[in-house]
C-alpha cells in the first residue's frame, strides 16, 4: 500500500506514559534520529521526582516533548501535534495541552476499568466520544508487541517492556525518521542480553511495519532538514554541554580540574559525566555533603587546580559559607547551580529561575562575585569557558545559573573546532618569587594581597612555589600584606576593593546586544538564562503579526554589561519575563531606577511562546 506523504514545516510530539514505561528513552532515541536527520529541534523532558511513583497514577506520569522543524526553532513548543498516551493517566495529565485536531495515539490495553478508575475516569474516553475533536488512534500497543515477540525466549514482562520500542518504531515510520541509529543503540545497550536485544529490535520494526501496513495512519509526514550554519553537529543536553565545557576550559587554561560534588537533582549528570573523564586527568570527588563538595573544590583551587562544584538550590544554601570564603581569599572557583523549583525541596525535577538573588547576595557580609547564565542547552558549553576565563583571570568565584530545563533539554549543537577556542592560558599566570608586584624576596616579604593594577586580582600563589609562603583565611586581611587586620579603615577599603574588582569586570565582557530590526521599537523585552528560547519565539510571533519590539538577553548578571543602563533608557517600556516573582526586575529597578514591567510565572515549566506573545502585545498596546 502506498501512502500519501505530506510535507510539514514543524511538528511537536509528546511521548507520555508511566514512569516505568520507558518514555524518556523513546523520546531520547527519537531525538537522536531527528538530530542526525538534520532537523532543528528542542526537547523538554518532564518527569516526576519519584523513581517509580505508584503505577498508573497521575503523579507517576512521565513525558518527553520534542519540537522539530525544517527551520531554526527556539523552544520545545507550546502545544503538541501528537500525543502518545501509554495509559489513562498519561492521557488525562496531558490532554489539556492538546489543541483540537491533534493526533492521539493511545495504548488501549491499559485503558482497563481499574486503570480508568485510578485517575477518575467514569467512562472510557477512547469510547465515550469525548475525544471526537481529536484524531484518535486507539491501538493495543502492549498486546501487539507481546504477539510480535512470541518466538523469543523472554519473560512476558520483558516482552511488555518492549512496548516503548514499538511506539518508537511507529512514530519513526510516521515521521520518516532513519532507524539505523536506534538499531545500533539497541545492539550496544543489550549486548550482554542477546535475546532481549533481538526482541527490542523486533518490537521497533513491528511498530514501523504497523504504521506502514495497517490503515491506522493514512498519511506519512516528511519534515525536511533545517538549514543550519555549516559545521559538524551533535545533539546535546545542557548538563553534558556544561561538563564538556568545563573539561575544555581546564584544558585551554592548562589547569588540572577538580570537581567536588554531592548528588542532587537536576545537577547529578554533571558529576556523572565528569567522572567518566579519567583519561583527561579530571579528578571527581563525591563528597559527604554539599559543604564538603565546595570545600574540596576550594582546597584544590588553593593548590592551583580549576576547582568546580555542581549543585542545585538546596545545595547552594549549604555552600554559601564556603563561597563567601572563596570571595574573601580571592581564589578562582566555579559553582554550577542547576536551578530547580523551590523553596526548600520544592519540585526537584521542575525548572525555575528563582536562585538569582541568592547567587547575587546570598552570603553574609559584602561578598560580591560573578554570576553568569547560559541561554540554551548548547550555550552551557560557552558559558563554562567564560566562567573559567573570568574565575582564573580575576581570582573570584563564578556562579553559573543553569536550570532544570537547560540541564535536561537538548538541541543540535555545532561542535566547535578546537582551534577556534580561546587560549585561556593567556588570561592568568601563577605567581612566582621576585615578581612585581608581590615581592617574595628576602628584602621584601611576599604580599598576597598586592593587586594587579589593571584587574585588581591578587596573585595566585600556589603551594610548592618557593618564597611565596603565606597564610590567609576568612578573617579580614590588611590591604597588600594580607595579614590579619581589624583596622576600621582597612576593612572599609577592602570591602570596596573586592567590589571594585568585580565591577571592573564589566569592561572585560561584551556589551549587551539588542535585536531591534525595525529600529523604532518602543518596547524592549529583556530576559536572562533559559527563557531565551521562549522570549525569542514570542518576539518572532509579535513581529510576524506586525508588532515592533526589541529583544535583549543577559548572560552576565554580575557584573552587568557596561551599557545596560543606556540600553534600558532607550525604550519607553522594558518588559522582564522571569520564572520567578521578579528577581532581575528588582535588581534593575534598584540599580537603574527604571520602572520595568515584570512578567512572572512559576509553574516549574518554561514559558509558552503564545503566552509571552500575548503579554508583549499588551505592553506594546499600552505603551
Amino acid at each position: 500500500m502506498t501512502k500519501q506523504v505530506q510535507q510539514l514545516d514543524q511538528v511537536i510530539i509528546r511521548f507520555a506514559g508511566d514512569s516505568g514505561d520507558g518514555m524518556q528513552l523513546a523520546g531520547d532515541r527519537f531525538t537522536q534520529e531527528t538530530a542526525s536527520f538534520g532537523n532543528d529541534l528542542s526537547t523538554l523532558p518532564n518527569f516526576p521526582a519519584e523513581i517509580r511513583a505508584p503505577a498508573g497514577t497521575l503523579p507517576g506520569v512521565s513525558s518527553f516533548q520534542l519540537h522539530f522543524a525544517d527551520h531554526d526553532i527556539l523552544t520545545p513548543g507550546d502545544a503538541p501535534d501528537v500525543l502518545v498516551a501509554m495509559n489513562p493517566a498519561a492521557l488525562k495529565a496531558n490532554l489539556d495541552d492538546l489543541p483540537r485536531g491533534a493526533d492521539i495515539i493511545a495504548n488501549t490495553d491499559e485503558f482497563t476499568r481499574r486503570n480508568l478508575a485510578k485517575v477518575g475516569y467514569d467512562a472510557n474516553p477512547l469510547e465515550d466520544g469525548s475525544l471526537d475533536g481529536y484524531q484518535l488512534h486507539a491501538i493495543p500497543i502492549t498486546s501487539v508487541t507481546v504477539k510480535a515477540l512470541e518466538g523469543y525466549d523472554i519473560s512476558k514482562k520483558d516482552a511488555e517492556r518492549a512496548k516503548n520500542m514499538f511506539s518508537l518504531g511507529m512514530l519513526c515510520w510516521l515521521y520518516n525518521r532513519p532507524a539505523d541509529g536506534t538499531l545500533r543503540f539497541l545492539e550496544s545497550k543489550f549486548a550482554s542480553k542477546p535475546e532481549i536485544m533481538k526482541a527490542n529490535i523486533t518490537a521497533f520494526q513491528a511498530g514501523w511495519n504497523y504504521g506502514e501496513t495497517t490503515e491506522e495512519f493514512s498519511v506519512q509526514y516528511e519534515i525536511k532538514p533545517a538549514t543550519l550554519p555549516p559545521g559538524q553537529y551533535r545533539n546535546i543536553t545542557g548538563n553534558t554541554a556544561l561538563a564538556n565545557g568545563l573539561v575544555t576550559a581546564a584544558k585551554l587554561a592548562g589547569l588540572q580540574m577538580f570537581l567536588g560534588s554531592y548528588p542532587i537533582t537536576p545537577a547529578s549528570d554533571i558529576l556523572h559525566e565528569l567522572s567518566k573523564y579519567k583519561r583527561f586527568g579530571i579528578r571527581t570527588f563525591q563528597a559527604e555533603d554539599e559543604i564538603s563538595g565546595v570545600g574540596a573544590a576550594l582546597g584544590a583551587a588553593f593548590g592551583g587546580a580549576l576547582g568546580v562544584t555542581s549543585t542545585s538550590g538546596p545545595g547552594m544554601c549549604l555552600k554559601a559559607e564556603t563561597i563567601g570564603l572563596a570571595s574573601a581569599v580571592e581564589l578562582p572557583l566555579i559553582v554550577c547551580d542547576i536551578q530547580r523549583a523551590g523553596p526548600s525541596t520544592g519540585m526537584p525535577t521542575k525548572t525555575e529561575q528563582a536562585d538569582l538573588l541568592m547567587a547575587l547576595y546570598g552570603r553574609n557580609g559584602e561578598s560580591p562575585l560573578v554570576v553568569i547564565a547560559p541561554a540554551t542547552p548548547g550555550d552551557c558549553f560557552t558559558t563554562a569557558l567564560e566562567a573559567t576565563r573570568i574565575a582564573v583571570k580575576y581570582r573570584t568565584p563564578v556562579i553559573i545559573l543553569s536550570d532544570g530545563y537547560l540541564a535536561n533539554g537538548s538541541e543540535p549543537w555545532r561542535i566547535p573546532d578546537l582551534a577556534e577556542l580561546p587560549d585561556l592560558r593567556a588570561e592568568f599566570s601563577f605567581a612566582t618569587a621576585n615578581q612585581t608586584p608581590g615581592g617574595g624576596t628576602e628584602s621584601e616579604p611576599f604580599m598576597p594581597y598586592r593587586r594587579d593594577p589593571l584587574t585588581l586580582a591578587r596573585p595566585w600563589a600556589i603551594p610548592g612555589t618557593p618564597g611565596l609562603e603565606h597564610r590567609i583565611g576568612g578573617i579580614e586581611k590588611a590591604d597588600g600584606i594580607g595579614t590579619i587586620s581589624y583596622d576600621p579603615d582597612n576593612h572599609d577599603k577592602m570591602v570596596r576593593l573586592r567590589q571594585a574588582k568585580i565591577d571592573g569586570i564589566a569592561a572585560d565582557i561584551p556589551p549587551l546586544e539588542v535585536d531591534d530590526p525595525d529600529g523604532d521599537a518602543r518596547v524592549l523585552v529583556l530576559g536572562w538564562g533559559s527563557t531565551f528560547g521562549s522570549i525569542g519565539a514570542a518576539v518572532r510571533r509579535v513581529r510576524l503579526a506586525g508588532g515592533s519590539v526589541a529583544q535583549a538577553h543577559l548572560r552576565h548578571l554580575s557584573p552587568f554589561p557596561a551599557n545596560l543602563g543606556d540600553v534600558l533608557k532607550q525604550y519607553d517600556k522594558v518588559l522582564v519575563p522571569e520564572i520567578n516573582t521578579g528577581q532581575l526586575a528588582l535588581v534593575l529597578r534598584g540599580r537603574y531606577l527604571i520602572d520595568v514591567i515584570s512578567y512572572n510565572r512559576v509553574r516549574g515549566l518554561p514559558f509558552r511562546a503564545a503566552e509571552l506573545c500575548g503579554v508583549i502585545q499588551d505592553v506594546i498596546f499600552n505603551a
Partner: protein, 371 residues
C-alpha cells in the same frame, strides 16, 4: 605528575614503616626533600602569637615547629589548614603555606588539596568543637577515605574562642555560661569515634609532654593516610586543669598508660599494673605479678592489629576521671589512601586507552554535517 605509592617494606602485619628512599617518612614519599637543612627558626612566621598566657597551644606550637625540620620538606611544600577556634589560629604562626578556613570544614578543604596535590605535606589543625561538633561529618569521612593528611585535634574540652561554653568532649553536667544547670549530653570519646570511622592511624598525646608529643607527630608523619592525633590541651582560662590527673607530677604515673608497640602494657608508679581482656571483651586492670614471673594473659601492645576491636577497647579505658588513660599510638595500619587510589584510577585509564582526546569528546556519539 604525582604517582601512587609503590608499597615497600611491609613488615608482615599490614604496616609500612617507610616508603621509597632511606629514612623518608611514609606520608612524604611523593613530596620533594628540602634542599638545605632547615631548623626550628625557619618555621616561625613574623606574626605575634596571640593565645592567652599559659595556653597549652604554645607548647604544642613549639613542639610542632621544632619537629618540622625532621620532615625534610621545603617550607613551600608544607601546608597547614585549620578551621575556626583558638587552635585554628596556628597556621598564622608557622612559616609555610596556610589556610585558616571556616568552622569545621578543614578536613574537606584538605581533601581537595591532598587529592589534587600529592607533592605536599598536609596538616589539619582543629579543636574539639571544630572537629567534633560542627565539622563532625567531614572528620569521619576523611578518616574513612584515608586521605593522606595529618589531623591534630587540640582537645581542651571547652569552647575557648566563644568564651567558655561546653564542648562535645566536656563531661556531662558541666556548668558553663550556656549550661548554668549543667550540660545534658554524653561526651564523645574522640578516639572511639575515629576508630568507628575506620581510621587507619589513631593516637593520643599531651601538650605538656613535649618528648611524647614529638614522637607521636613523627609516627603520624610516617603514616601514609589520615593520621588522627588527639592532643590533650589545657585551657587555663575556661577549663583549667581539666587534664590534671594525667599531667600533674604526683598523679600522672598513677593514671597514664604509655603504649609502646610490642611491649607489655604496664603502668603505675613502679609498673605494678597491667591490662588483660575480660570475658566480655573489654579491657580490665590487673596486678602484674610482683615476683617478675610471666603472666601470659597480660596484654602486649600491638598497634598494627588489622582488627580495630582491640584499639577500641583501649580507647574505652579512658573515663571522665581519667583513672586509666592510654597515650601513644593506638592503631597504625596500612590501607590504600584515597588520593593514591584516585591517581591510580587516572593512570590506569590513561594506560589502557591513552590520554583523552578533546575533539573526540566534544563530537560525542552521533554527529552529522551541515553544509
Amino acid at each position: 605528575m604525582p604517582r601512587p605509592l609503590d608499597v615497600e617494606g611491609a613488615n608482615g602485619e599490614g604496616h609500612v614503616s617507610s616508603g621509597n628512599g632511606a629514612g623518608r617518612l611514609s606520608s612524604l614519599t611523593l613530596v620533594p626533600r628540602a634542599d638545605q637543612q632547615l631548623n626550628t627558626k625557619d618555621f616561625k612566621s613574623d606574626q605575634e602569637v596571640r593565645w592567652c598566657p599559659g595556653c597549652g597551644d604554645y607548647a604544642i606550637l613549639a613542639a610542632f615547629q621544632s619537629f618540622l625540620p625532621e620532615l625534610d620538606v621545603p617550607r613551600e611544600n608544607l601546608v597547614i589548614i585549620s578551621g575556626i577556634g583558638c587552635s585554628s589560629r596556628l597556621p598564622y604562626y608557622v612559616n609555610s603555606y596556610g589556610l585558616h578556613s571556616i568552622h569545621g570544614r578543614a578536613p574537606a578543604i584538605a581533601t581537595g588539596l591532598a587529592t589534587s596535590r600529592q607533592d605536599l605535606s598536609l596538616w589539619v589543625i582543629t579543636g574539639d568543637g571544630d572537629a567534633l561538633s560542627i565539622g563532625g561529618n567531614h572528620l569521619i569521612h576523611a578518616l574513612r577515605r584515608n586521605v593522606n593528611i595529618k589531623i591534630l585535634l587540640f582537645n581542651n574540652r571547652i569552647y575557648g574562642l566563644t568564651k567558655g561554653q561546653y564542648s562535645p568532649t566536656s563531661e556531662q553536667g558541666k556548668v558553663t555560661k550556656s549550661t548554668p544547670f549543667g550540660s545534658l549530653d554524653t561526651p564523645f570519646n574522640p578516639l572511639s569515634l575515629a576508630l568507628g570511622a575506620e581510621a587507619s592511624f589513631v593516637a593520643r598525646t599531651i601538650d605538656s609532654d613535649r618528648k611524647h608529643l614529638t614522637s607521636v607527630l613523627r609516627a603520624a608523619a610516617d603514616h601514609r593516610g589520615t593520621a588522627f592525633v588527639e592532643i590533650y590541651q589545657n585551657c587555663p582560662i575556661f577549663n583549667d586543669d581539666a587534664f590534671a590527673p594525667v599531667t600533674e607530677p604526683g598523679a600522672r604515673d598513677e593514671h597514664v598508660i604509655r603504649l609502646e608497640h610490642g611491649q607489655p602494657v604496664k603502668f603505675g608508679p613502679s609498673g605494678e599494673r597491667g591490662l588483660r581482656f575480660s570475658p566480655v571483651g573489654s579491657l580490665e586492670v590487673v596486678p602484674v605479678p610482683a615476683d617478675g614471673s610471666q603472666d601470659s594473659s597480660l596484654l602486649v601492645h600491638n598497634a598494627h592489629a588489622a582488627d580495630p576491636s582491640y584499639a577500641f577497647a583501649l580507647s574505652r579505658l579512658d573515663s571522665v576521671d581519667m583513672a586509666h588513660t592510654p597515650i601513644g599510638i593506638f592503631r597504625d595500619v596500612e590501607r590504600q589512601t584515597y588520593d593514591d587510589a584516585m591517581s591510580s584510577q587516572i593512570d590506569a585509564a590513561r594506560a589502557k586507552r591513552g590520554d583523552g582526546d578533546l575533539a573526540a569528546l566534544l563530537a560525542g556519539g552521533d554527529t552529522w554535517r551541515v553544509g
